[in-house]
Amino acid sequence: MNGPAAAASPVLRVEGLSVVLPGPHGPVRVLDGVDLRLDAGRTLGLVGESGSGKTTTALAVMGLLPPSARRTGAVTLGGVALHTADERTMTGVRGRRIAMVFQGSLGALNPVMRVGDQIAEAITVHRRIGAAELRDRVHELLSDVGIPDPWRRADQYPHELSGGMRQRVSIAMAVANDPEVLIADEATTALDVTVQAQVLDVLRRIQERRATAILLVTHDLGVVAGLADRVAVMYAGRIVEEGPVDALFARPGHPYTAALLAALVRLDRPVPPGTRPVAIPGSPPRLDEVPPGCAFHPRCPLALLPEPCGRAVPEAQVATPARRVACHRGAEVLSGRLDPLPVEQRAPVAATVVSTARGVGPASGPPLLEVEGLVTVFPVRGGWRRRVVGRVEAVAGVDLALAPGEALGVVGESGCGKTTLARSVLRLVEPTSGSVRIHGVDVLRAERATLRRLRRRAQIVFQDPEASLDPRMTVAAIVAEPLRIHRLWDADAPQRVRDLIGMVGLDAGHLDRYPHELSGGQQQRVAIARALATGPELLVLDEPVTALDPSVRAGVLNLLADLRAELGLGYLLIAHDLAVVARTCDRVAVMYLGRVVETGPVAEVFSTPQHPYTQALCSAVPVPDPAVERTRRRILLEGDVPSPLDPPSGCRFRTRCRRADERCATEVPVPTDRGGGHLVACHHPGPEAGWGS
């Protein structure tokens, strides 16, 4: 982000980098002629979906590929050729001149080594240093990355730290020797948005202070917009487009980039009513079956077939001095002569296939779902006799109502209780107290038979379709199973299964396939078809697109929108991604530590949030627009979510709230209507100055 004069010399150069890995059906070319250039003190964003080769690029630069990989091409770091260096030289370079931060999972740090020792090791493997100086340096690094109380933290093990804290430790380890280049590979992907904002801030500060060049590898265009100077977009092992971040976001030159950007929902700019985001058809190719010619051509609205797009691999064309586009029609797109966005041509869903089809859109009348005072407590057992030593109130008194045909989103960070809420509503976990009524029928006190009938009317779609579909059942058997369980199997049933498959955008050819033969998006469509089989009125969607690639998400979300319109379904949609809720839902409920802190119409809650937590949450979501992202004000939350074992008294958010006073510590705030069904549970509600549009 900073750019003094000396920034024009490349510190890292990658030229013609190709990597071939052995596969079960012969060698697979996972990288094909990748060129990159990273200038000193600058940030290059490397963007792509899973399997596009971005992580392989990072590992190839570091010389960390598996021994079976064959690498060709050149990697030069500050004048040193890394591609010809032997392992010994590379060991000396890694961690000293070029360092890497990996995706923050518990496994990224050695579980049996104190974090202080792990940071110290990064230094001692490269130079001799006295014990006292080493200790001071470790503590200095820990405070540099914003870890409070570094003396105590250094003596702890990774499992004693929160996810955000562990990622800070990884960064401290990587910058311990002031490397010239820092590679951050999905470094914030596993983190909650508020923690992601903190960690990105750490990266920003480190770069400012040490003039480190950062290679930011991510699938999140929002993160790139906020941090990168230049962006390279990868698809199927090749760089398809590269350029300055502003120009590339403002006017993408490759149809893939354009489609990715168009498929995003921006929280700061609500979708105009009546329009829908454009979905990219298909899914990213597997690297062992990359289409000939341009790998994107089967999904590309501009593809000229068969020539040249289906035959010739497009070379990177230098469009303007600063930009490269590897597309046969890139010049036309960049000059504005061609609109790269596909025309939406999806047939509307046939409303007649399910007999229970109802009206469209939210309807008035008795609520479809009523949740009152719902509490779900998990006992924590410990000690010798497995006695209950603590209670986690995962859901701590939640009230919700959902009208027929309405879509209610529940958002919040991991551990806030949203998934437990979803499962409690269907009694997949047993709630402790409160009430849940579906069409007035009490779910929690329902007998077996009643519950069975209720489950016919309320179905669930889970986050990970690969895990939630039985791998030994065909698609037809999976979709038919609810019909059999609920004794709805009759002469028409096979036709109904075919109709359901058609409704979710698959065809009869998929019926005999097994889940592993389908892509993630197709799997999730099967899961949706299964949920629709019994003709439900309520669908609980638990993170339905989280496991999917960005280019596939829009298609599934559009499908969900279509199905709701056609079938009059009510949705209870659980998501950590505010944009997904913004696109799909009418209303939203924001959860923090088991409680709903704010609820109301989506547009209102997200544009003028009244609760300080909602404000911080909205502010933490990166906006995929470099101009906005650079200038907008951020609200950075301090610290981590408190332990649900011992939640703060009064308002549970008060320990991280800037408006908190004594009253917040003693009195639990009651939801109050701020007008138009916008309820806020806060003692000091109100818009944040300088926030909102």
């Binding site: 570091m62 360092a99 050695n110 049996v112 090791e121 010798w384």
Partner: protein, 322 residues
């Protein structure tokens, strides 16, 4: 830490009670202690013995008497030798403990070394060779292995080298009346320890290899490589300690298995330990010895598991008892 040990010791009490009761019961059901006095000319001999052993009362009562005496330190006298059971057990246990300690130590060293070496060369020629050897070790019956080892390493090798006495001893743990930690002692240990551990060395090395291969693919190993940690340090500091964790559990479970191996090994090498004591007592139905033997063995296995849990806590901060 201390409370953890105390708790575990307390938890062992019911296990010991159940184990001793079951063995007491089984011995009473299967062995008639009056059989040997049946031939006696004294017509009252059987009746007297029945009364002394309270054989007319329910098994539970008989067991209660045994527990009462045992708590006073009286495990009874052997019906075979007339010697106090506690003294016989103490002597035999000491001998067997030596075998087990050396065996476990040697097996762990060899298995970890072989496992790590195979994992670092996974898929290579050495790995395949060691894998084959491991399966051979698993498949070979210990008594046969012991006899082969005596023939080849003691008899044949001694002849080829033209030595006047066998290179490795194969009767007892010392020659003649020798004692103490001497070269003679070590030469006597080699063959029994090999026979005792051939199976578990094979098993543990396979286990260590699998665990090491898994750890080497872990993200934190990649993190360490990205820091510039050299390979030797990577293997020792980062991979080995993590890879040892699952092995510790398996090792503790296998101590029970080793007691079975001791029975065969001590028989082959004429070592007067727990194994031989068991076989000899079983042959004549020496009830007091058999019951006490079971309890001591159970206590030994429980103690081994406790040690393993403590070692686990030492190795892995995540499960450290608080």
């Amino acid at each position: 830490m201390l409370t953890f040990v105390a708790r575990r010791a307390l938890a062992a009490v019911p296990v010991l009670l159940v184990a001793s009761f079951l063995s007491f019961w089984f011995v009473r059901v299967t062995v008639d202690p009056t059989a040997k006095v049946r031939q006696s000319r004294d017509p009252q001999a059987v009746a007297r013995l029945r009364e002394r052993l309270r054989l007319d009362e329910p098994v539970v009562v008989q067991y209660g008497v045994w527990v009462r005496d045992a708590l006073r330190g009286d495990l009874g006298t052997s019906e075979r030798t007339g010697e106090p059971v506690s003294r016989m057990l103490r002597r035999a246990l000491w001998t067997t403990t030596q075998l087990l300690l050396w065996g476990t130590a040697a097996a762990a060293l060899v298995a970890v070394a072989v496992g790590v070496y195979s994992a670092l060369r996974a898929g290579g020629v050495a790995d395949h060779l060691l894998t084959t050897l491991a399966f051979l070790g698993l498949a070979m019956p210990p008594f046969w292995f012991g006899l082969l080892a005596i023939q080849i390493l003691a008899v044949d090798l001694t002849r080829w080298l033209g030595l006047s006495e066998p290179l490795f001893g194969f009767v007892g743990l010392h020659s003649g009346d020798g004692s103490g930690f001497t070269l003679d002692y070590l030469r006597h240990l080699v063959l029994p320890v090999m026979t005792l551990t051939v199976g578990i060395v094979a098993e543990w090395s396979r286990f260590q290899r699998a665990s090491m291969v898994e750890v080497l693919a872990a993200p934190y190993i990649r993190t360490a490589r990205a820091k510039g940690v050299p390979r030797s340090r990577l293997v020792v500091r980062h991979a080995l300690r993590n890879a040892l964790l699952p092995l510790v559990t398996v090792m503790a479970l296998d101590v029970g298995l080793l007691f079975g191996g001791v029975i065969v090994t001590e028989q082959i090498f004429s070592i007067p330990g727990m194994g031989r004591l068991f076989v000899e007592s079983l042959r004549v139905g020496d009830a007091p010895v058999l019951v006490a033997w079971t309890v001591v063995t159970a206590a030994f296995v429980i103690a081994a598991n406790l040690v393993a849990d403590l070692a686990y806590g030492f190795l892995d901060p995540r499960v450290r008892p608080r």
